[in-house]
């Protein structure tokens, strides 16, 4: 029991210590304490892996006596372990990054680290809750943490506006989860995920309610619009919540639904879910291309990437689920890294606006390298985990004959590559912008580099040897959802019964070739790098000139103009204005009839009551 609850208890212990030692510790000390708590939780999660690989679901009570007949219990299976490892592993790296990133904050660091710890504990509870009620409570707890962290700088209008949007959209849609579980309980009398009675009560209508809740958390179109506004949070928040964990809560919920009634709901909802995923892929990346703010750009790419993940889960096959879950982990790694790089850039230069950046690779070589690895991964460049994820996803879609899904994914990948080319060139290369001239730029601190570098390293490692992730983590998760997965994995890479990806062998060959090329390049004493003319698709630009972030954004806006009208925010605004207008009209009428003439109100009520009792 202790070993199962230990990861959560360690995080809660860290939370309590943060509060108790708030006056004694410096911001750096608080960061170290939080990092140690999350890392200890990660270490405590590792022993759960062998049981998950053996297909054993471990159970333990968390709050044995809660509310009458309801208790809060844990049931940890392969899927739980996957999300627990993701939350604690990536959480530890991001908190390590935070130590130096947050050291200059004058106030609020206790609040920051305490809420981060509760957030990770909430994610672990969500992933390991034995029933829907526990999962819903964890769902809302992480929602509250997200709200508090996005609004961390609560005296800034932009931060609080972002926080409000997060709360309103995710909580209103989250009622779908609550109403769904209430309907299940009223029909089945239980909320345990694996109870057969729940399976028969889990209609496609209930599943649709769950999916609406998941769509808002996992930024699916049209409920995605909160994420760009949430970028006014401190960067570690964006990295942990808006890449690795919070946005994956919806992914978890969709995956977890497969244990209910053998996933029968998927038959009715496959097509709508695939459609939502595909639209999200395209809308996300097209909006990303028009951004000049680095974090907003990454936020829209999160939207797009979550579309890929949901498509994988929606396929409802073993390979589709494996692709979705592998993608989920991969995205956490590369997007977390990219957010941390963006934070390091902002920390060093004071801006994250691509129009004001340029040429910082000279001053920040380590950050540039880390960024390039992660950018390559999100674009799906071979030898990175992003490539493996896409390969698996396309394979799963082809298995089902869904060429349109592959086509959408392919277009999305190309646009992603363009978008990151823009971001990389504009931020790191070329000549510094006028805004940067004379401004001292420094490399990220060693601990920041360690945090993001470790994750970028894993992007390469799992790209070269994906079986390291597939065998102990992804495959048990797929099997825990009731799929008898026929995939085989070896040190050659992933071998499926539909074909093989000899990733390790291929990777070694390509790496060897690259090293050989580099050696030849060095030995040949190649000329020093300099500015050259850029071919921009038309007339050659003068030497040193290049298409800038604004040019690229304008080009995207021109090319994809109709897509930008798909922004759902104006629609939400109209609903809000309509509601307040109705409320105003109701207030005027109520004041005239009920408030200013109380006896009339009483008389009407009395007549209605008397008439009612004789009619009933």
């Amino acid at each position: 029991m202790t070993s199962i609850t230990l990861p959560i208890l360690l995080l809660l212990g860290g939370f309590v210590l943060q509060l108790l030692l708030a006056r004694l510790l410096t911001p750096v000390g608080k960061g170290v304490l939080a990092t140690a708590a999350v890392f200890a939780s990660f270490l405590a999660t590792l022993p759960l892996v062998p049981a998950a690989m053996a297909g054993i679901a471990m159970e333990a009570p968390l709050l044995p006596v809660w509310d009458g007949p309801f208790s809060l219990g844990l049931r940890i299976d392969g899927l739980s372990v996957l999300f627990m490892l993701m939350g604690t592993g990536i959480g530890a790296a991001i908190l390590l990054f935070s130590v130096r990133y947050m050291e200059h904050e004058e106030q609020g660091t206790t609040r920051f680290y305490a809420i981060m710890l509760v957030f990770i504990a909430g994610l672990l509870l969500l992933a390991s809750a034995a029933d829907m009620l526990g999962a819903y409570m964890a769902w809302e707890v992480i929602g509250l943490c997200s709200y508090s962290l996005v609004g961390f700088w609560y005296r800034q209008r932009a931060a609080t506006d972002g926080a409000r949007k997060v709360l309103v959209i995710t909580h209103l849609a989250g009622y779908g989860f609550l109403i769904g579980l209430v309907l299940v309980y009223s029909r089945a009398g239980t909320l345990v995920w694996t109870d057969p009675a729940v399976g028969s009560a889990f209609t496609s209508g209930v599943a649709a309610l769950f999916i609406v809740a998941a769509m808002a958390k996992s930024v699916m179109f049209p409920l995605h619009t909160w994420i760009p506004e949430a970028m006014n949070a401190p960067t570690p928040v964006s990295a942990l919540l808006h890449s690795a964990c919070y946005v994956k809560a919806g992914v978890y919920l969709i995956a977890r639904m497969y244990v209910i009634g053998d996933g029968q709901w998927q038959v009715a909802l496959e097509v709508p879910l695939l459609a939502v995923g595909c639209v999200t892929i395209l809308v996300g990346v097209i909006f990303a291309m028009a951004q000049t703010d680095l974090k907003r750009l990454l936020a829209f790419h999160t939207v797009s990437q979550l579309g890929y993940i949901v498509v994988g889960l929606a396929l409802g096959t073993d390979l589709g689920l494996a692709a979705g879950l592998f993608y989920c982990l991969s995205h956490a790694l590369f997007k977390g890294t990219l957010f941390m790089c963006a934070g390091a850039i902002q920390h060093a230069t004071g801006t994250r606006d691509l129009r004001d950046l340029g040429g910082i690779a000279t001053a920040m070589p380590g950050t540039a390298k880390v960024w390039i690895v992660a950018a390559a991964s999100i674009a799906g460049v071979p030898l990175t985990n992003g490539f493996v994820a896409k390969w698996l996803l396309f394979g799963a879609a082809l298995d089902k004959g869904l060429l349109i899904v592959v086509l959408v994914g392919w277009i999305g990948s190309i646009l992603t590559a363009f978008s990151f080319l823009k971001a990389t060139v504009n931020a790191f290369y070329g000549v510094p912008s006028k805004a940067m001239l004379g401004r001292p730029v420094h490399e990220a601190s060693p601990s920041m580099l360690a945090g993001m570098g470790s994750m970028a390293g894993l992007c390469l490692l799992f790209g070269l040897a994906p079986q390291l992730l597939m065998v102990p983590v992804v495959a048990p998760a797929v099997r825990s959802l009731g799929f008898d997965w026929a995939v085989q994995m070896s040190w050659l890479g992933i071998l499926t019964d539909r074909g093989s990806i000899a990733m390790t062998v291929g990777g070694v060959v390509v790496l060897a070739s690259a090293m050989l090329g580099l050696l030849v390049y060095r030995l040949a004493q190649a000329p020093a790098p300099g500015l050259v003319s850029v071919y921009s698709g038309g007339e050659p630009l003068p030497a040193g000139d290049r298409p800038g972030a604004v040019d690229f954004a304008e080009m995207a806006e021109h090319a994809f103009h109709p897509v930008y009208s798909l922004d759902p925010d104006p629609g939400y605004l109209r609903i809000w204005r309509g509601l307040t207008s109705v409320a105003g009209a109701a207030q005027t009428a109520a004041r005239m009839v009920f408030e200013d003439r109380p006896l009339l109100a009483i008389g009407l009520a009395a007549v209605a009551a008397l008439a009612g009792v004789w009619l009933v």
Binding site: M137, D161, L183, Y185, F594
Partner: protein, 397 residues
């Protein structure tokens, strides 16, 4: 003896007393009327279910009217007159209904049973300020100090609702046989008050309408009955009491700071009043029913009761009301408390005692939300209920 409500009322009295010592809520008369109101409400709980309890509870309501009157302003007296009208008529209707049914011990022959239910409906609606006879509550909220309204909502109204809970146990036919009427009253309050709360610019009337909205929720649980409905109503009313002390207390602190009524045009009060701001946010989240607060423990049970009572349609009504409540509170939080200070005011800071009271009542619902069993009523069922066949005490299906 009621081992939950009596300690809660006493804690509220202590908290309000400490708060009012540092942030004045009224003159000497206010103190006397406030103390007497709480004392009578506690005495009514001690008296159990009977005419003595009814008399004591009614006396507490009339003293609450006097507490409003003691505000001294013309607006306060006007509000007190409205409140007095409501209390007097509610008492008249309520006593007549209780006399007809002999405090729930008998069901009189037709048509007297129907008359009793009609009178009880009117009485409950007037006492709790339900739509459409809510006229006194926003008026009282506008004209009185924050803790005056908080005491009325958190003690007087809660006492009245708990009396109704007892009646639900003793004479379930009052509710089960006339369920559509009670559901109609609850739905009208749920939707009407949530909508009217959205239309308010001042925070105190907004909180008053939010109370009415919440009472609609609780009434649904009471009508549904059964384990879920009654537990939902019970936990809901406890969360309601604690939440309203925090919310009105925080608004009172802001008014103390500004020296005038708090409206949606005020900005950035979290900077000068961080504790009041945090307390308001916690209180609001509890009121909306977000886990792990006590509000959630009540709300999710009430959703269950709603599903049993009216299926998906009633769930949709509950959703609409919850959504409007969320939008209302989030707007208040983000317009009034969070964000930059646009027009700095050199106001009074929050006294330490008031801050402690706000924090205690803000944190308690979170702790009780994690361990709600500590708040379950320990009392034995009423002897009359024990004699009833099991199914007649159950819920409406």
């Amino acid at each position: 003896m009621d081992m939950v409500l009596i300690p809660l009322f006493l804690a509220i009295a202590l908290g309000v007393g400490l708060y009012a010592r540092v942030i004045p809520q009224g003159n000497g008369g206010w103190w006397r009327f406030a103390a007497a109101t709480v004392a009578l409400a506690v005495a009514a709980r001690l008296a159990g279910h009977g005419w003595a309890a009814v008399l004591l509870a009614s006396a507490a309501e009339f003293l609450a009217v006097a507490m409003v009157w003691s505000g001294g302003t013309a607006e306060a007296r006007a509000a007190a007159r409205k409140y007095l009208t409501a209390v007097a008529l509610a008492t008249l209707c309520g006593w007549t209904a209780l006399a007809l049914i002999q405090l729930g011990a008998v069901r009189p022959a037709a048509p007297w049973d129907r008359l009793a239910v009609a009178l009880l409906l009117v009485s409950v609606a007037l006492k709790l300020g339900l739509v459409p006879v809510y006229f006194w509550l926003p008026a009282v909220a506008r004209a009185s100090s924050a803790m005056t309204t908080a005491l009325i909502v958190a003690v007087v109204d809660v006492g009245a609702f708990c009396e109704l809970l007892a009646l639900r146990d003793i004479a379930p036919w009052l509710f089960t046989d006339f369920a559509p009427l009670w559901i109609g009253l609850a739905v009208l309050s749920l939707l009407g008050a949530a909508l009217l709360a959205l239309a308010q610019r001042e925070l105190k009337p907004m909180l008053a309408f939010s109370s009415i909205d919440d009472m609609g929720y609780l009434l649904l649980g009471l009508v549904a009955g059964g384990t879920d409905g009654m537990a939902g109503a019970w936990f809901g009313i406890l969360g309601h009491a604690m939440g309203k002390i925090v919310l009105f207390g925080a608004v009172g602190a802001a008014e103390w700071h500004l020296g005038r009524a708090l409206t949606l045009d005020d900005r950035g009060l979290s900077t000068p009043l961080p504790v009041a701001s945090a307390a308001f946010m916690l209180g609001a989240l509890g009121f909306i029913g977000i886990p792990p607060t006590l509000g959630f423990v009540g709300h999710w049970r009430l959703y269950l009761a709603g599903a049993e009572l009216g299926g998906p349609l009633l769930l949709a009504v509950l959703y609409a009301s919850s959504a409007m409540a969320l939008l209302c509170y989030v707007r208040a939080i983000h317009r009034v408390w969070l964000g930059p200070v646009e027009a700095p005011v050199v106001g009074r800071s929050l006294p330490r005692a008031a801050a402690l009271v706000l924090l205690a009542f803000a944190i308690a619902p979170v702790l009780f939300g994690l361990a709600p069993n500590g708040l379950r009523p320990a009392s034995e069922p009423h002897p009359h209920v024990a004699a009833l066949p099991t199914e007649s005490a159950g819920g409406v299906k």
